[in-house]
Point group: C4
Chain length 394, copies 4
């Protein structure tokens, strides 16, 4: 029994190491990091291996790296099958059927594509070049696990219809532009505009404003067409980026709200609030991460926001003795309430999480929560008084 | 009489097939799809036919395709005239005058331009090359019927004044840039900058940032001018795309609202609401389409929205026995209310339509509709209790 | 006295003709249009005149055009001095001092620059080439009077600080990039990267993504630098366009509001409202101009807005007898209220001004103005009833 | 004692001169400006010094400039150490430890990097070329103190995660595109696509749409890949600029609010308001700076906003006698309230600060502050009456 549970714990731990998702324990994330690093080194080795000089000089090192990596990833592959039933999402819980289903999941098949040629080829005295190339596949694997890429994926999914529409318009423009330039330039440059597919090389380079200049129309009519195509291209082919950029910033605002929501309840001032009251406040606050020794603001800076400390410790560099603020404290409200520059520099003593509140939103918050208002105003007056006392003592 | 009504039904059905607009019946949309495909194949044949090798090898196939297509489209043309009085929009209802008015509508004249040269030319032993080219015309026809292009059209119409203004500014810049570079470079490169129209080729390539590099100023002053032109171009010629992109996303929000509005009334929870109350809610919800086996969210994902099912069936992968949810049900509210990750994966069992509600908007909705709030909270507490019971039983 | 007032009327009329601003009378705007056309023809003549073939062939015509234009514009110049005291804005009201002040205003000095060389040179047997070139100056004059350019001017003024900031950053990047590439490439390509000013030609072409390709770094380090410069350039040099585009659409919303405001009070339904109540409504409505025979919507289109007629006449193509709607009427509300597609096509019979109201905003308007709600709902029910009656009669 | 305080005042004044931050006194800002100008001249001298002709001709002047500048900046360096305890932000208050800490601050170390090679090299008969180059370093120093750059810094910091994500996606695309083009083109163009790092030169030039055209794929498959890469590049590599542009305009709105807030309390009409009431109003107003003789609006312009004067004096060009308005006055409300064009031109007589209020927001303000409404309406009626009286007198 103890044996089994120990094995279970190991399995669960192993699962955390191989699943590059979002494990919590520190040692497992180090192991996960090492696996990602190994992939990155493999990609780099592939790139460097194409430079003839380098390939010759480091041939042995590159070969050793390949063999070691393949063994490591084969071992990782086995561990992932073993731990499949613990996969987050609970998709493969059945010990036998679940593992079989996991084997045919896209991510496992993708890995198999890299591993099989190596082990089969190795036994059969196969050429390793193909195996080298195929490691590029893993690059997609790294990106797949980056949270940023997840955001892009969600944005692409949400905007897929608009993007598809723009894509159809862009392809139609490419077809028409290429056909017309073919008709106008074919006679004059039979080599470069040999057919419409040939003309598309010019068409795409022009519409996307890449403009290599290796193929250009030379007849007067062809150039008039070219000028029109450039003008249309610059107005159309930048559309997808514009659409994606605004969708990106919407998505980020949504994520920020979720992050803020989970932080607000951890500030003592807000602890007693109900979920729906937290939502009211979370809309106004903005999360902010600080690393050790990062400065929140300098003395005499303009005051345009106040801060609540969710975690970590900060130091206010008051003239006589610095003062420390910990979790739950707030600061920076004096500048907002009495409209004056910062009276002291504030520095993070450790990694810290803050919630920032803009001048614009402070008063909205005060209206929604009069109690909060009186509590913050009382603290502000107390601080102001102690400032004056300190000033008088000097 | 029965004869006539049968013919009428046939006419109405034929109308649906040829009008690529938005018919409902399945078989008619298959026929419509086939016609669009035939156009696409014709365009492709035209493109491929310009590659000398291909043209030679597939000459017979391409010729057969041309003849078959022309006959099909001539037949389609006749059917459209026959069914004109049933045209959606009711513009051509009169059997005689309506049909004549339809004959001179732009879309019918456009088709005639493609059909006449073929049939006239065929009789007269005419060269078919011109007919081949003219099929490109149809490409615009396909795009015309895509909903995406309709959106672009509406956006262009709404922003036409701003775009015209920017266009005037861009053309003025082109004129001035080209004239100045002509004055500065004409002496040094009399061939490339032979006249202002010649200089415009460089001017447009530079202002749109295409930059072929086949023509560049060489004198010091010409290059200084070039540097200034590049800077101005990059700030001005990207304006239309920026303006269109923001107009596009506004238009999409408007469409989404309309779609949501029509869905909200089909959710039982909202069924009793009056039209104006539905509008209040529709602003907060976001429509979402799922295909079979698509995952809404995975277990342990962050919870940032809840869902109402408009149509289709979904499965919640609870640990002990999966639970099915059908039309009218809602899910995902537990994560929002108790701020915790998803407790189970949810997968679509069929094509499904959902309405998504963000965390941010859930509380707004609760405020507006207190009854809805108590109904959802009661369900949430029931589900939480049954979760606990299940956990205790394990 | 009558003489004087007749002369005064003539002066006032002449003023309207030469001031390309925004006169009301029809004949004066025709004269103004003719003057603008003459400038455009002059610009075109200048452009065409640089093509050697054309210049030779049309030499006489071009010369006549030049002489005629100069006389016309000299005459216009005199008229403008005469009418200066009537200048809109009332800046030059004093008959003597005002005219003198007007003479040294930028716009008059600019004209003088074109006129003097001609008349002085003509007398002195001067070469006309310089005079030809200088007409380009007028191009800026045309653009100056376009309303679109005024909008751009206001946008540039409002964003001048941000744009200046970005410009400084861009120039710093250009300086640093060019200096570094000069250090890295000077040895290898002493001709192309002869000095930092030479390197700036490459730097600007790269940062703006123009990329002529006539000058490129060739050393490995130079190319690494080039890759970094491209990446930074693409992220920075598109900033001004992005900033301008969003400022442009803000400015447009502001203008739309002003336009709507002036229209709302002319709709009888809203006539009794006070100024501040009109502001409430104007935020929700969107102005729309129609030309004769333009279709507002087709039968069976999706209904997503309703319309109020400010001026002009429209026809609803009802099945039995078309119905005309004039100033003050509203239509399209049935589709919104009963959520169903349009029941008839609506076409403009004359130039018409409408106010459009989105589905989203209809209910907001109803809440703000309950009286308006009952008036519109009553009309809707009456129309629905008459629809049913008509249907029963068929 | 008096001696010390005099020295203290000098120290404090010297501090203001060398700290390019935001000193208030006029003479210190002249001195600061002179130092910045000296840096700019040095940069220019460096650039010009790389042009062989120029370098030869102005050799002596350039050398003198170098020596003088170095002495000036060495002296400035010393002054900054002396005044370190007065540094804004109060980071180096301790006379000894503070100065030592200041010595190792990034900005001082950066200066040392420029100064040491000169003084050491000068003594050792060192070649001055390196010293010349190193002055480029100062360019970053200038930009560092520009407020615009501070804004960019804050924007970059706030968006760093999104930008990092996009950067990772862009680099992945670069890697994959370059690897694929290498595989497809290596055989055909072994020189240009010698290795993946070589292929990256093409990859980056294509993805950023720079498109030099010095390296292009030639095989049909390579060109198909190229077309896809262009399409992906134009959609992805413009993302950072789009994200930055929208973040920039958000940041600007935040700054504007702060600026307005500090101005509102200086308008007598608003003086009696409490801080939280000012916030309500500040959201609606927009700050505006005028230089002497700048025109706010012309007679007969469309009226779309009114103005409050924070400081400075303006002149209303009324027909009979111009009228002056000073601090605290408001104007332009007649056009808004009675919806009519401007009745007179308004010009600034001195540098002036205004607060602008849009038509749209005027009514919001009136609702929030009924007293303000009656005060402004009373003034409007008084002015209208005096207008009429004036008109009757004519």
């Amino acid at each position: 029994m103890a044996e089994t549970s120990k094995l279970g714990a190991l399995q669960s731990y192993a699962q955390e190491c191989v699943e590059r998702h979002n494990g919590q324990s520190r040692s497992s994330s180090v192991l996960r990091g090492a696996l990602i690093l190994l992939i990155a080194v493999n990609i780099l080795a592939f790139v460097v291996g194409t430079v003839p000089d380098m390939a010759e000089r480091y041939r042995t090192s590159l070969d050793i790296l390949l063999h070691v990596s393949m063994v490591v990833f084969a071992w990782e592959y086995a561990v992932r099958i073993w731990t499949a039933p613990l996969h987050p999402g609970g998709l493969y819980t059945d010990p036998v059927k679940g593992r079989l289903r996991y084997l045919v999941s896209p991510i496992m098949l993708a890995d198999l594509v890299v591993l099989i040629p190596y082990f089969v080829g190795f036994g059969a005295g196969f050429d390793l070049r193909f195996v080298r190339v195929i490691r590029l596949w893993w690059l997609l694997g790294i990106t797949y696990y980056l949270p940023a890429v997840g955001t892009l994926g969600r944005v692409l999914k949400r905007e897929r219809r608009t993007l598809f529409a723009v894509m159809v318009i862009m392809l139609t423009m490419l077809f028409i532009a290429s056909s017309l330039v073919y008709l106008l330039e074919h006679e004059r440059q039979p080599e470069r505009f040999a057919s419409i597919p040939h003309a598309m090389w010019w068409g795409m380079a022009t519409l996307t404003t890449v403009g290599y200049g290796d193929v250009v129309p030379e007849s007067p009519l062809g150039r008039v067409l070219g000028v029109i195509i450039m003008l249309l291209g610059v107005g159309t082919f930048a559309l997808p980026a514009g659409i994606l950029a605004s969708a990106f910033s919407e998505e980020r605002k949504r994520r920020d709200f979720m992050l803020t929501w989970s932080l607000v309840a951890r500030v003592p001032l807000f602890e007693s609030l109900k979920a729906r009251e937290i939502a009211d406040i979370a809309i106004l606050l903005r999360p902010m991460q600080l690393t050790t020794h990062e400065v929140v603001f300098h003395k005499d800076d303009e005051a345009d926001s106040m801060f609540f400390i969710v975690s970590g410790e900060l130091e206010v560099e008051l003239p006589h003795e610095p003062c420390r603020l910990g979790r739950g404290a707030h600061f920076g409200e004096l500048g907002l309430i009495y409209r004056r520059p910062r009276t002291a520099t504030v520095i993070a003593l450790s990694h810290a999480e803050l919630l920032e509140l803009d001048a614009k939103d402070l008063h909205k918050l005060f209206e929604r929560r009069p109690k909060l208002r009186s509590s913050i105003m009382a603290e502000a007056e107390r601080r102001l008084a102690s400032d004056r006392t300190a000033a008088e003592q000097v």
